[in-house]
Symmetry: C2
Subunit: 231 residues, 2 copies
């Protein structure tokens, strides 16, 4: 009954004819053939968004970092490992998308030089030079004929303030902000809670299953889209 | 028939009455609440060794980093995340062990300072200070009344030469050396191949299922143990 109620709150086919591209999961940034930098993203939120987009009638593609998740039905999937691979796939697919949702937890930095042989232990301490990865969501949002671009902000402090800054700085249409210091939600959890932030408003999504949160985000996006503007 | 043959090559109960402790999987070294450094270890080899040790009649404990594997039957399991957690558990359990097998791919270095808030992007490049983690297998091997201590060497170059150096430097009884540049074996594969290296000998284990390799390693250990020396 709860599932029925969630469905009834959510007008089906609200994204009929739209093409949605969603990034999901972490990226891995190689230090050498053995070691890498990554993060705790499980990909569950991005995959839930893909299911919700399909339910809403969209043609849906997910660009997935290394995650242990099955591809949802009717979703196209492109697997990538590093942030640079994800950037390449995103820019290519965003050119044909109406909506781009950057849900992946992309590594901000990668090792300046990935070693091709395993790094030897050489002393009590070492320093690792890291270089900035491409900002995928900003580059998609700043395209000519950019899709409706949605970012995520996973923060531990001042969550909504950071999110609003990010929205403006990157030129996003909408941002989904959540507080990853709350271990009941986010990353490896099946639940999430978030604040949706856009230029002239915000909306709290109370803690719920990620599928429910995903439907609410898709609903919000559908309501904000310019009408009758398929590319 | 192949499984039967493998079993018959392997005298059951050759470790009856022995207490075996095995480390397995990767460790994760936190950069901040979101990001970490890790490696490609799946834990499969360590878990195969735990099954082989149980088959050989040993009382078996596995100290596991973050892996997606079921605990084998009759195995005690201690879950850890960082190298320092693994070191604490290893030193505690090694005190009561006859055999200690350090199969985990322990991070050699951790961030000198783990941030309690998410690190902000601050520029095109940053440097990360890393500090050496405790050398678990060396500290176990160098204990008074040390257990029979087995190390692993996952290398990309000059595999056996590095392994022999490690054996001597750390005071190990046996080392299992493998070439992780061969993508058909090791880490996420179900197959492995290795060279067993000890003070006055070495033995090649041809590419095979990790369960077969594990039985051969347990067999080798059983053959090298001083007779009648339970602690």
């Amino acid at each position: 009954a709860i599932a029925d109620r969630a469905e009834s709150l959510f007008p089906r086919e609200c994204l009929a004819g739209k093409r949605v591209v969603i990034t999901a999961g972490p990226t891995r940034e190689a230090l050498d053939p053995v070691r890498y930098i990554t993060n705790h993203s499980s990909g569950k939120m991005g995959f839930a968004l893909a299911r919700a987009a399909v339910e809403a009638g969209a043609s849906t593609t997910i660009i997935a970092g290394p995650v242990a998740l099955e591809t949802p039905e009717h979703v196209q999937r492109v697997d990538v490992t590093s942030a640079r691979d994800m950037a390449t796939a995103s820019n290519e697919l965003a050119a044909e998308a109406d909506i781009f949702i950057a849900c992946a937890a992309v590594a901000d930095y990668r090792p300046a030089e990935a070693q091709t042989s395993k790094i030897k232990k050489t002393g009590e301490s070492i320093t690792l030079a890291l270089t900035r990865n491409p900002d995928i969501v900003a580059s998609v949002a700043q395209r000519e004929n950019a899709p409706f671009t949605v970012g995520f902000a996973a923060e531990t402090d001042n969550v909504v303030a950071y999110a609003r800054g990010k929205l403006e700085r990157k030129g996003l249409a909408l941002i989904v902000a959540n507080d990853v210091s709350n271990s009941q939600i986010g990353f490896n959890s099946n639940e999430n809670a978030a604040t949706l932030v856009w230029a002239d408003g915000q909306r709290e999504l109370a803690q719920a299953n990620k599928n429910t949160i995903a439907r609410q985000i898709i609903d919000q996006i559908a309501g904000m889209l310019p009408t009758n503007s398929p590319k």
